[in-house]
Every structure is written in C-alpha cells, then in structure tokens.
Symmetry: C2
Subunit: 338 residues, 2 copies
DNA sequence: GAGATTTATGAAAACATTTGCATAACTATT
DNA sequence: AATAGTTATGCAAATGTTTTCATAAATCTC
C-alpha cells in the first residue's frame, strides 16, 4: 500500500505528492536551473520515493527527440556485423541515444517493413547496411526528413549518404597483393553474390585486378559456397584433390578460414605449397594458423564514424550527412607474405 | 508543393485530405472492419499519397504497448552473445515487437542506467544477461510491472525469473568427460571471474568435479587470461614449455581456440599428446582443427525461449514468466574424444 | 414506406508530457 | 517604503493518437 501501484505513477502523482504543480516537476527534469534548489530537492526525493520513471513516449509527442537511433542489418551473428553493431551502439550511447536494432536476413522486402517500423517509432536517425535497397525503401526514406546513412559500402554516387568502404577496391587490393608474386594458377572462393552487393563488388574488384594482370580463371577454379567455415571447407576440398592452385583468393575471411582448414586436411602447407588471402579481417583472422593475409573492412571505424555523423546531424551540429570513404587496408600476414 | 512538408503529415492532415474525421482514419488502422470499404480505400490512398507514417509514441501514451522489448547485454561482439541477440531479435520480431538493444561492457552500474533508460522508453518487456546485478537494478525492476527475465544463467533461487543454463553444471559436465580417461595432470585456462558470475560458476563446477575425482590442480596449472584467442594463445604457451599437461579444460571456447593454437605451435598434437575441451560451443567450434569438444551453452535456444516467454507475458497469453532451465549439452569431438 | 436494426461516421475526452505566458514571491535599488 | 527587477511557480494550451458515446446513414422487415 506504500505505493498505489494500481495507477502507475505519472508526473501528476509526483506533483501532488510533492505539493507543487506539474510544470515544476517537468522543469526539474528539463531545466533544473529554473527551479529553486529547495523545491528541486523535495521533488527529487518524491520521485525516488514513488519510483517515478519519465515517459519518453509522452515527450516524443512534442516533437522532442525520441532518443533512439535505428540500425537495420542483414544479420547480427556474423562477427563482422557484430563488431559494427557494437561500435555503433557504443558511440550513440555516449551521445545519449538508445539503439533500435533489427535484422532482415538479407531480405530487402523485410528491410522495407523494418524501416517503416523504425520510422513509426520515430527514430531520430537511421542506418542501413549496403547501398542496394528496395525501391520503396528509398522512396520512403527520401520522403522523410529523418537523417539516414547507408553503412558498409562506399560509392561516390549513391542516393543516400553512405559511410563505408569501396568493396571493389578491397577486392582489387587483395588480388594485386596475391598476384605480385607472379602466381598464375589462382582460384577463387566466393559467397553467393546475387542478393549481396558487397560480395558482388569484391568479386568485381578481384576480377578487375586479375584481368589487368592478364590472368583468366577457369570455371573450375571458382567456387561459390555459403557463408560458413564448414561449407567453405567442404566446398573447397575439390580444389586440392589433384593439382592444388598456387593461390586462393577468398571473398571473405570466413571462407578463407574454411579454405585454410581444407588445405591443411589435404596435407598442404600454407604458405609453402599455396598462399591464401581473404577480405574482412575479422576478430580472429590474425589468430589463425597461419595468420591470415587479408584486407580489412574497418567495421568498427565505419560503425563509429556513422554514429558520430548521425548524432551530429540529429543534434544539429552538422546539418547534412556527407558520404565518407573509409579506406580498406591490406594486412599482410603469414598466409600470403610479401 | 505536392506535400506540404514543412508541417509533418499527421493523422489530421490525412483526415482533412481524405475528407473524413480523424476517428475514421484511426479506425482504418486499428479496426479496419469497422469502416466502409470505399472510405477505407480512399483513406489508404491518401495515406500513401501523403507518405503518412503512424506515430507509435502517440499510441504508447494511451497505455497501448510501445511494441518494443529491451535487451541489455554485456557486449555484442562476442560470438556467443551475438547468437543470443540474433535469436532473441528474430523471435520478438515475429511477434511484432522491435528490439531495443544496449550493452554495458560488464559494468553493472552502467547496466542500471541502461535499465532505467529502457523503462523510460516504456519497453513492454526487458531481458538482462546473468543473475548478478546491482541492487538498485533489482529494486528498480521489482518496483515496475514490466515483464523481465534474466537470461543465460539458471539457478533455482533467483530474484527474477531466469531462463538459461546452469553454468556450474556445464563446468561439471566438461570436467567429468575429460576425467573419464583417467588424466591426472590437468590444467585450467579460465577468464577473469571477478565481475562475471557465469565464468565463476563454470570454474566452480569444474573444481567440484575435480575434487570429486580427487584431483588437485597446482597454482601453476591454472592460467587466468583475458577473453581473446590471442591472449589465451600467449598466456597458455607457458603450459607447454616443459611438461605439457595431459588435459586442458578451458572456461570457454575462445580460450580453448587459443590453447589449441599454442599447443600446435609447441609442436604438440591434439588429441594425441594432450586433450583440450572448452565450454560454449560457438559457431566455429566444430570447425576447428581438431574439432573442439565442448559443452554447448545453447545461446540460440535461450534467446528464443526467453523471447517467446516474454512476448507471451506481454500479450497476456501467459501471465507470469517462469524460470526455465535450458540444459547444457556435451559435444564430444576430436579434441577430446571418448 | 414507416419503424426497427444495423452499419458507418464524427465530436470530444483522455493519455503523459512540455512550454509560453501570466502571476506571485522574493531581492535589489533608491 | 515604494518601485523596479529577478526568480520561482502555476495555469492552460498543445502534442498525435485512440476510444467512448452519440448520431447519421443505410438496410431490413412486414
């Protein structure tokens, strides 16, 4: 009976209990300097006693910011996105915002629905992954004034500001490094590229570099496999059956991990018998045996940069979000040394 | 001039444009069967034309659910939590809710602040990780009626309903399996246990099993190391310098991965020269070379179960959330065979 | 085709806040 | 002690919805 818990304690309950007006209570929260220290103390004590918790929904209605930022990712449980989510979350949290997170499992129609949902929640800002989205998603976002950024990829000409890496450049970088040693017999292990613009661009970049070097990869030397260590390990085994290639370039580090294991299983030593390189530089990549040569897609930097730019756009420190290219960076390690 | 975009389109703008009352527009959304098909069509067209998006904040104010569920984790970028977040997110999404996610970096005071923030956002349900929380956090949650669950751990006697695994049982399971082969010289590689009740319980379980088997582990055979493959690899190297142990039990799979690499580097073969086992069964654990014997902490199952129970508690299908023990399960693989 | 039902719509109150404006209560100035 | 200037508080309107109740329109019944 101490707290009349049948009627949730709202600001008027606090006002009544503290014998002040509603306005004064509200001011204690929003403009504490406008209220006399003594009253403030009393109100604060009452708030504590009643266990009152402010209702952001009621504030949001006034055009006041909702204090949330939306992030929609394809999936959370790939390490690389987890890193992005973490750094994004940390950064917006520092700025006082809360993260509204959703994943669409690479389904762009679902992404549209999630985008709508986020807007219904009146997120103050929104971030999506990749440059490729349903037309209705673009239409929806262009109609709104909610600051929005596309993360992960960079391209100079995109419909909404993007903050990320040029994946085709990443592909080019890794391929050029691998080719520097003069290998001719190169194999490719890549993920499905149909619904994934990032993967497609990397492959395009790799192919560009190969073409420049005058190298053609036969059909049999290109393996497309689902994104998982086990799948990549199984699928790439065929490469090592008879004549192992001199080099394997992988669309990402997860696949590269599988390739390393398959090579090991086939009794081949990396980098002695062949070299392997990936793209991504996930958390564990440098701890593999041998440590993986790869091009870092700087997930953390992208997440943080995006969060900084979004929050600044929201708080008005920075009116418009500009596209930013976070450069991919080659990390030469044991699996494909210089 | 097509859409008067200076004044954001709200329900009254739609009503005016469609020449109906506000109520009718509202009903079109909430009880479409109560409005004449013709009018409904007209309103829906207007909504589309004006790009109107409902304002959940305004709905929430009416005691209508906010449609959000909060999840507060220590960190997102450990694979194991990422898996939990993913399955939790998927499940609440299916039930029409949106995820409000935050991470506190193992700081329980920060966790309290985040909990408050979630409640300010009027989440319809809330989940925290672990059973150990700041006293003020418990007080706060006990004062609210928001359905809450503690995830990850299970204990029969906790202050709030918990859905998870008995980590001490997990520790016991892995230790008993390792000891079955009669190894006497056992080493432990564990993470810091001071601010992490999960880790502490696992270690306790391991010790219990060892004690039962009459085995005492000397100080030098216990290595405490930060949660990372690289750290574990470096820190455990000392174990293999002179007399390698017959078995290494690891507090989690990340550390076990490091130990496998360290052993490999020391020229030892697992499981021939020594056996290694972990706890967790992360996504990559079965793909290691050798595949890792481990006790699965069923992250996905926990996430999903928790989400189901929370959403049911919210929608009233199930009034109270009950504690549920999701059993840990031993996976015997090459690194420590039977 | 008039009365009785049923169906569709609108007016206004309610939700939990914030804020502009008015006023009351102090301080400072002469 | 009266006036001016500050500082602190309260009243009431506003925010974008939903919902109850009342009423108007349409349909049915004989």
């Amino acid at each position: 009976m101490t707290d009349k818990n049948h009627k949730s304690t709202d600001i008027v309950a606090v006002a009544k209990a503290a014998k002040v007006s509603i306005s004064t209570v509200s001011r204690t929260f929003n403009h504490p300097n406008l209220v006399k220290p003594a009253t403030r103390k009393r109100i604060e004590a009452t708030v504590k006693r009643l266990g009152y918790i402010r209702n952001r929904a009621a504030q949001t209605i006034h055009g006041i910011r909702s204090g949330t930022i939306g992030l929609i990712v394809p999936t959370i449980d790939h390490m690389i996105f987890a890193e992005l989510v973490q750094s994004f979350s940390d950064q917006i949290d520092d700025a006082g915002f809360t993260l509204l997170l959703a994943s669409h499992g690479y389904d762009l129609n679902r992404e549209y629905e999630l985008t709508r949902k986020m807007l219904e929640h009146r997120v103050d800002g929104l971030a999506l992954i990749g440059l490729d989205h349903a037309e209705e998603t673009f239409l929806l976002l262009e109609q709104q004034t909610t600051p929005t950024a596309l993360l992960w990829n960079y391209a100079p000409d995109c419909r909404l500001p993007c903050i990320g890496t040029d994946n085709s450049l990443a592909g080019k970088l890794v391929a050029e490094h691998v080719l520097k040693k003069g290998h001719q017999d190169v194999a490719l292990v890549i993920p499905p590229t149909n619904r994934n613009d990032r993967a497609a661009q990397r492959v395009a970049g790799i192919h560009a570099a190969l073409t420049d070097a005058g190298i053609v990869i036969p059909k049999k030397r290109t393996i497309e496999t689902p994104y998982s260590v086990a799948d990549a390990k199984a699928a790439s085994a065929v490469l090592f059956e008879k004549h192992p290639p001199q080099a394997v370039i992988c669309g990402n580090d997860v696949l590269a991990t599988g390739v390393l294991l398959a090579a090991q299983k086939a009794g081949l030593s990396v980098p002695r018998d062949l070299v392997v390189a990936g793209i991504g530089d996930f958390k564990g990549s440098k701890d593999l045996e041998p440590a993986l040569t790869t091009v870092r897609i700087p997930a953390r930097k992208i997440g943080k940069t995006a969060a900084v730019n979004l929050t600044q756009a929201i708080t008005g420190e920075n009116l418009k979000i500009e596209s930013i290219h976070i450069l991919p960076e080659l990390f030469v390690r044991a699996s494909c040394p210089t």
